[in-house]
């Protein structure tokens, strides 16, 4: 018997062996493993053991027919937990969440494609109202707070943007942080006192001989809110800036793309990396360009503060105060027993932006352009032969990817109210790439999940997880003292390598991308500089 390709390697042989067993044996083994793991974990941390048992039970339940078995057992579990919550300390939130999860998992298959995202969206929008009442997760600790949520949403946006370049068009971009930086600095320039300049209030006296306090010489205001009187500089409404940042960044993407996109895949990666390294350096050294004294970026001190977003008093009054006039001086509303804070408003705005990004990304995926991207990804030569203009299509993928990176950067700068060159390291590019890879290149849902998980880990989860490891894992009385935040990059490295070796298509891959990875598309670099321009 010859060995088929899927029999090669320990992993494939194990999988074949596993699949050759009858379903009942497989079930029994799986349950046995779950119970054994739970018993072992019980000695480390009780809640972790319960979580494993519960997770195993939910997974097994999903195999049962919906009516009556599953409903009955789910009801029993929720009821049992409810009784526990009544008599002892089990949190009610766990009962409710589990109930909600069961309800969602009972949605019939045909309507899942819209019902599941809708349910997630509703849960996400309502998050600020209930997160403080939620139970503590095993290992991960408390649920992330709302500012963490904003951070997660911004990075999810960027991941979806990068997914257009890496996932759809198959171009490796190692300098995505350059687009993020462009967006952030666009906000910083046009919504701060950066370009105020100085002049003497007395006419015709130079700043050196001025006896009075200097005043800003340039002031321009367009729909901005929360600007103190007397502050100079450009102040444009943040909503206009989001669009402007997207357009400037997309233009920038085209500028980078035009000369470089004809390069082979790995050369392109290195050129984007080069841009990603040059841009932060310009930002860092931009407080005094080659000794000309022109202050573009305020150097390592960054630009701060930036104007807060807001709709202004007129719109705010028109909508009865639903749209806040100034995000930072917000809000008096007390909805459902929850005092709405300014981070909540930022959070909801971020959700809106993310929904917009995801919507555009979906529409692009099945558009003429999106299909051309996929064709290029799978086989450039064939695509070119079918009449796909390679350069134009690739440049568009760059521009669209850059657009969302720019919008996300602009919004994030407004949220933090500052921009520092230190925010734009190569690590961030790899971090976003890691989200796309982990989630599954080309599949928006996968990318969203990967981005949410990794960005959560980055700001919140690593700290709490590290704490848990330091307190719960011990040999005798010796506790480790690991600063998990310090090893962030290493953790991403391990994720990248493990995912690439064992599941190169990611956790939730698009079916098409998975097939490419397993059949091994030979993207032979037939289109390099020698032939560039042939399509003109």
């Amino acid at each position: 018997m010859t060995t088929a390709p899927h029999d090669v390697g320990i992993r494939n042989q194990l999988r074949r062996n596993w699949r050759s067993r009858p379903a009942s044996t497989r079930n029994a083994i799986a349950m046995g493993i779950v119970v054994a793991v739970a018993v072992l974990l019980f000695f480390v941390d009780h809640s972790l053991a319960y979580a494993v048992l519960l997770g195993g039970a939910v997974y097994e339940l999903a195999k049962l027919p919906l009516w009556p078995h599953r409903i009955a057992i789910m009801g029993a579990i929720v009821g049992f937990l409810a009784i526990l919550a009544l008599v002892s300390s089990t949190p009610w939130s766990l009962v409710l969440l589990l109930g909600a999860l069961f309800a969602v998992s009972s949605i019939p298959l045909p309507s899942r494609s819209w019902a599941l995202p809708l349910a997630t969206l509703v849960a996400a929008v309502m998050y600020p109202f209930y997160y403080t009442h939620l139970f503590t997760l095993p290992v991960f600790g408390a649920w992330p707070d709302v500012p963490t949520g904003v951070y997660m949403l911004v990075f999810m946006m960027m991941a979806v943007g990068l997914n257009i370049v890496v996932g759809y068009a198959g171009l490796l971009d190692l300098g995505y942080v350059a687009f993020y930086a462009t967006g952030a600095y666009t906000t910083a320039w046009f919504a701060s006192a950066q370009f105020a300049g100085q002049k003497c209030p007395t006419k015709g006296v130079s700043t050196d001989n001025c006896s009075q306090a200097l005043v800003p010489s340039h002031t321009f205001k367009l729909g901005s809110v929360g600007v103190l009187p007397g502050t100079g500089g450009l102040h444009i409404s943040i909503w206009l800036l989001l669009a402007l940042a997207g357009i400037i960044t997309a233009f920038f993407g085209i500028m980078i793309g035009l000369p470089t996109l004809r390069l082979r895949g790995d050369y392109l990666a290195i050129v984007t990396l080069g841009f990603g390294e040059i841009l932060p350096q310009i930002a860092r050294n931009g407080d005094n360009f080659f000794g000309t004294g022109f202050n573009l970026t305020n150097g390592p001190n960054g630009i701060t503060p930036l104007d807060p977003p807001g709709f202004g008093n007129r719109i705010s009054d028109l909508t009865g105060g639903v749209l806040p006039s100034n995000y930072l001086q917000c809000c008096n509303a007390n909805v459902l027993g929850h005092q709405v804070t300014s981070s909540d408003v930022f959070y909801w705005t971020a959700i809106l932006l993310l929904v917009f990004t995801v919507f555009c990304s979906f529409r692009l995926q099945y558009s003429r352009l999106g299909r051309a991207w996929i064709a290029i990804r799978e086989d450039e030569t064939a695509a070119a032969a079918m009449g796909v203009p390679l350069m134009r299509t690739k440049t568009w993928s760059y521009a669209s990817g850059a657009f969302f990176g720019g919008v996300a950067g602009a919004f994030y700068a407004a949220f933090k109210s500052n921009t520092f060159p230190g925010d734009f390291y190569f690590n961030i590019s790899v971090f976003i790439l890691c989200m796309v890879i982990l989630g599954g290149m080309g599949n928006i849902w996968g990318v969203l999940v990967g981005a949410a998980f990794l960005s959560y880990l980055n700001v919140f989860g690593l700290g709490t997880t590290g704490q848990w490891i330091n307190t719960h894992i011990h040999i005798g009385s010796h506790h480790p003292n690991i600063d998990a935040q310090l090893y962030q990059a290493g953790i991403y490295g391990v994720i990248i390598v493990v995912v690439m070796l064992f599941r190169p298509e990611g956790l939730l891959p698009s079916r098409r991308r998975a097939a490419e990875f397993h059949e091994g598309v030979h993207d032979a670099p037939l289109y390099d500089t020698e032939h560039a321009g042939a399509e003109a």
Partner: protein, 331 residues
């Protein structure tokens, strides 16, 4: 492009000329530093070029192997050989032993990385091993961070700093010369290995066509492992020179220097061994001039931008580099 390129080179030559006339001793001083830097870059760039020539993979982890080479040097020198200044002629022997040991360690490590991380992806789309390489690079960096800590690790200062010769105000110290002295025999050995041995012939054949070489009875996997071994030991040698010359290494230096060395490899023509050396020395010189000259030089704040600017210009206008690339696809 041709005209623009010539004008560009002329401007640089003019700038150098003015600097030479204004401050001749500074000029020679930074040129000497540049050549020393350049020899380190050349050794690292050779590793990139060897691996790219055979696998068409930009081995991002290579720079970090170089950094580990520096770290190993410090550890071996301190704990195995007890290297310290004032040991007299014995120092030559100890430095040689350190060099051999570090080269072996780094070579083995690099071959192991290939075996674990790149070999399973031999038939995957080309971007898969590239992404993996970035992951490996991050892992190595963090291992170094965990083992050697986040600060600069100080190497024993053993290279003599007395003058080799002195012309006017320009003096050339031994430590700069030693860096070059270590580099040259390593390069000669490499050229001999690739051009005149059976294994070298196998490497060149595999680089040209893996399937055909396999049919000719060449063990392709072993040849690739061997290439990684050689590349790693070159990085190790560079690490020894770097650690002893600069006397300090930090865990995150490898990636930056690796990128600069990769630029050098592309500059000279990737896959091309003499090209990598030429590129390395040129980049080293440019960096030295930029950081050391006074008249209208952008200064060390801009070194990185200049190096990457060169990389981008080369890739866009002359992707085959100065001496032409030698890869299976580039011919």
């Amino acid at each position: 492009v041709g005209v623009l390129g010539i004008i560009f080179v002329l401007v640089i030559v003019l700038w150098l000329g003015v600097n030479l006339v204004k401050t001749p001793s500074d000029f020679f001083e930074v040129t000497a530093i540049g050549i020393t830097n350049g020899s380190v870059y050349a050794l690292v760039a050779l590793g990139y070029t060897l691996v790219y020539g055979i696998l068409e993979l930009i081995n991002f982890a290579h720079g970090d192997v170089f950094m580990l080479g520096g770290m190993f040097t410090i550890t071996y020198a301190n704990h195995f050989f007890g290297l310290h200044s004032g040991q007299g002629a014995l120092i030559v022997l100890w430095v040689f032993c350190t060099l051999v040991l570090v080269m072996l360690t780094c070579g083995a490590l690099n071959a192991m990385i290939e075996f674990v991380a790149y070999r399973p992806l031999r038939n995957a789309p080309r971007l898969a091993p590239l992404i993996t390489a970035i992951g490996v690079s991050f892992i190595i960096e963090n291992v170094a961070l965990a083992v050697w800590g986040p600060e600069y690790v100080i190497a024993p200062d053993v290279l003599p700093r007395s003058d080799v010769f002195r012309i006017g105000t320009f003096d050339y110290q031994w430590n700069k010369l030693i860096a070059v002295i270590i580099t040259v025999p390593v390069l000669l050995a490499l050229v001999y290995l690739v051009q005149h041995t059976r294994q070298g012939k196998a490497m060149r054949a595999t680089a040209q066509d893996k399937d055909a070489s396999a049919m000719m009875g060449i063990n392709v996997n072993r040849t690739i492992s061997f290439t990684f071994l050689i590349a790693g030991s070159l990085a190790g040698a560079a690490g020894v020179i770097y650690a002893l010359y600069f006397t300090s290494v930090k865990f995150d230096q490898g990636f930056q220097i690796g990128l600069i060395a990769f630029t050098a490899a592309v500059f000279g023509g990737i896959g091309n061994l003499p090209g990598a050396v030429l590129g390395g020395v040129l980049i080293g010189l440019l960096q030295g001039w930029n950081e050391g000259l006074n008249w209208h030089s952008p200064g060390s704040d801009w070194t990185q931008s200049i190096v990457f600017g060169i990389l981008i210009l080369i890739l866009v206008f002359r992707p085959s580099g100065l001496l032409g690339e030698q890869t299976p696809e580039g011919g």
